[in-house]
Symmetry: C2
Subunit: 512 residues, 2 copies
């Protein structure tokens, strides 16, 4: 048996989907649970979510939002109120029908028949309806507006084909829900939060995303307008990484969020909602990982630096460990973008080579080896996760502490540059139906290789063409890109499928 050339098997090129599962497992980020479709998020994965949460929460608060918490359960009748909403996606969900366990005739535990609820409760797949009912109570006059609230919560959508972080029955997210006096203000809010997501994705996740508006067919059920950020991952598929919805007065009408206006009339509020989820973790793994495992962008990495004491002989163990902990303490005193540097010392009694590979697979941005010879010379051995595994530098200890922030920023910039180059290379203008179909057709349909990308193509605006493309190729319109974002996208042309006139190009891709 030949030595594998990389830590993760298969490689990205050989089988991207399987590579992804292996990365999640090898990096100890999450694992499937015994509850179908639900995952256990392990500390190394949850740390990513904590960092994402911490930063986004600060950005939400800086834009005037506050956090609150709304019930997990939604009465069935609430969902019935917003018919379009339920038609759209809320049907596959967890339904609570009983509230007590008892021993049945066979002695086994069962839901007590006497505890059946008069009205079943649905576990929130999203909270529009229950928050709408609450806002209806809070809003009386224009003086009560705007309401600018966010919630960090777990939600459930009963997924039949779960995939860790990307699609699970239960997942973690944030959902902002705002209510406004005017349409213009709500539209401004919708765009502002899309901007927050775009900035966060670029600066913290090192993900260059396209922003734009969803076509009517891809819109959030019940929304007037859905804006989104779309990321490209390494198999050239799109991931919808965040959405911001302008809900018009639809939910306000369904929930009766009315207010006495400045002109003394009763008006319905204008509402928005916006969210990102643990899916961001799946996205960044697929965007930055390599054939050796996860590669975490420093700004969100669970730990920035992992210190690996090298202990060849028992007599130097104490001195090496002391030096490792002293270095960790020094590093933790330094701040990286405002927060203390996150440092781990791996002093486990495990073979050094195996330990090093573990941290490569986990994607720690910087690995620092420190051994007896380093103590003598006052140096450390540094390996960056964005470089070849064996490439090391040997700065003086103090010099490393001094420069650690700059090194991390450089890694962050490298990841963003790589992802941007990859995205740009695979964002292609396509002008014929033939080329369009060729672009999205795998050479080996039984086991599709990495192919395709983002196609910028003209479209006649009809749902029929959208449906046909989806059926033929499993390709959807990811967004109608924000004007000015992609040079020339707003020039008129002819629909790539029908040849009919089109005012602008839109972005097509296969997606997760």
């Amino acid at each position: 048996m030949s030595q594998p050339s990389s830590a993760i098997s298969p490689t990205r090129a050989a089988d991207f989907a399987e590579w992804y599962q292996q990365v999640v497992r090898a990096a100890e980020l999450a694992e499937p649970s015994d509850v179908r479709g639900c995952m256990v998020i392990k500390p190394w994965g949850y740390g990513l979510w904590e960092n994402i949460q911490h930063t986004l929460d600060g950005m939400f608060k800086a834009t005037g939002h506050k956090n609150a918490y709304f019930p997990l359960f939604i009465p069935l009748s609430y969902l019935a109120k917003e018919a379009q909403h339920v038609e759209g996606f809320a049907k596959e969900c967890a339904i609570v029908t009983h509230h007590r366990l008892e021993a049945g005739p066979d002695g086994a535990l069962r839901p007590a028949p006497s505890s059946q609820l008069a009205e079943p409760l649905v576990i929130r797949p999203t909270s529009e309806t229950i928050i709408g009912a609450t806002y209806a109570k809070w809003v009386q006059s224009y003086r009560d507006l705007p309401i600018l609230i966010n919630q960090w919560a777990n939600v459930v959508r009963w997924e039949m084909r779960p995939r860790l972080f990307l699609r699970t029955a239960e997942f973690l997210w944030q959902e902002g829900h705002t209510a406004h006096e005017t349409e213009a203000e709500a539209l401004e809010e919708t765009e502002k939060m899309l901007g927050v997501y775009e900035t966060f994705a670029r600066e913290h996740l090192a993900l260059p995303v396209y922003t734009g508006e969803k076509s009517a067919g891809e819109r959030f059920p019940g929304a007037v307008q859905t804006l989104c950020i779309e990321a490209m991952v390494q198999d050239r598929k799109a991931v919808q990484a965040g959405t911001s919805h302008f809900l018009g007065q639809n939910f306000a009408k369904a929930s009766d969020i009315k207010f006495l206006s400045r002109t003394n009339t009763q008006e319905f509020a204008w509402t928005t909602s916006w969210g990102v989820s643990t899916r961001l973790i799946g996205t960044l793994l697929m965007a930055h990982g390599d054939d050796d495992g996860a590669v975490l962008p420093p700004r969100v990495a669970t730990s920035h630096v992992v210190i690996l004491p090298v202990v060849p002989k028992e007599e130097t163990r104490a001195a090496v460990l002391d030096a490792a902990y002293a270095l960790a303490a020094k590093l933790r005193e330094t701040r990286y973008h405002g927060d203390p540097l996150r440092v781990e010392v791996d002093a486990r009694d495990v073979n050094g080579g195996a330990k090093n590979w573990e941290w490569i697979k986990k994607g720690a941005p910087l690995r620092v080896e420190i051994g007896p010879r380093d103590l003598e010379k006052g140096t450390v051995a540094i390996a960056r996760r964005d470089r070849a595994n064996k490439e090391k530098t040997f700065p003086a200890n103090a010099e490393f502490v001094e420069s650690v922030g700059a090194i991390l920023d450089d890694i962050q910039a490298t990841l963003l540059a790589r992802a941007t180059a990859h995205r740009d290379e695979h964002t292609v203008r396509i002008d014929t139906k033939e080329a369009f179909y060729a672009f999205f057709t795998a050479k080996n349909p039984d086991k599709p290789e990495v192919h395709g990308g983002f196609a910028l193509a003209h479209w006649n605006g009809s749902p029929e063409v959208e449906t046909q493309i989806k059926e033929d190729l499993k390709v959807t319109i990811r967004c109608i890109p924000t004007p000015g974002q992609i040079p020339g996208a707003e020039e008129p042309g002819r629909c790539v499928i029908t040849g009919e006139p089109s005012t602008r190009r839109v972005l097509f891709a296969k997606s997760y």
Copy 2:
């Protein structure tokens, strides 16, 4: 009708239970939702939880714990494994039986019969069983131990008589779950986390709590030992504010958490769990509130300082608002115990007196008025929530910014001193059955007045006596106080009920 003398009606003395409900409502902390037993936590209430979370999370991490996330759903069979556990409390819970909605014959939405789950899922009332099943997979050898993990989560226990923050169907909490190689290590962990809770309650919530061990009858179902912190609130009842359980090998045996020991034998791990919840918010409100509403301890207050611009004339409005925002910016630059000061400017176009009362009721530690005359003199008007409402001081603007941390610390110390004096005054040694029954018997049984307190009394150790006291008086043993905590409590004596010998006094009280 005479003018009420305080903002909250009824007063604490008149009807403590109703006073509490009114405080929660008037302070805009939370409200009941349309879902029976579930609450909506409003921003002013959720801010308290965020601050509690932030501080406790730091304390957990400083003691070596990491966060993770486990599924919301627990398969019914998991609960069946730990029979004592289910016997104890897990019966009243939300049970998911279906996973899809459909339109029924009458057109109304209903759980689709075809989507019935083969095995019902229970919403976690606590996660011991599902985490146990996960740890069983993670632990192979003693090298995998200890596992030191915490989870921030929502849990559900179907409460029939909900009370906001104290007892709701869904509530927020943290649950630490650890697994260890030895009994001694697990016991040490159990005590360590109790210590974290005691410190947090005292230093941050200004709650002096008694620590101790629960009697067998009051223990967490399935635990070998339950340690707790017990707070006294102003109606002299106890609140169990946090618990730390030594689970022995019970859950390890039920979940099969086994490991290869250092001596090459298969052994069961020793586990612990520990938690506090949004109940802490109810506890601090009942401990510190007064007849004008909530009084928030500065260390956890949603906002530390509220600035109220005073705008008697339109021509000075701009200057006053500018000064208010400038002061807020200055204050936010200062740090209070390591975090930026939390400052709010209430510039709403609302009557000044009404606005002032709102913030009194909300319990903001410091209210700062700033008006045209203050601008001229370079001063501000400061009112402390721990002092009389009309008592104000008029420091120079810069002097206030300089001293704000010291003032907040002084308020914090005052609240702790008051709560300690109240607790000590109402912690009473009782040596006769007559006195014991008199202490816990209200003069007006139809509408019990504030009475009783914590009785330090001898007990023969029998469950029968415990049950009799509970049935007669609704009084329970809150804890067997940690030795050394209450002078003389460990001296032997005679059971207050039976006259039989007793080795030490225990703490009895009515409780929430």
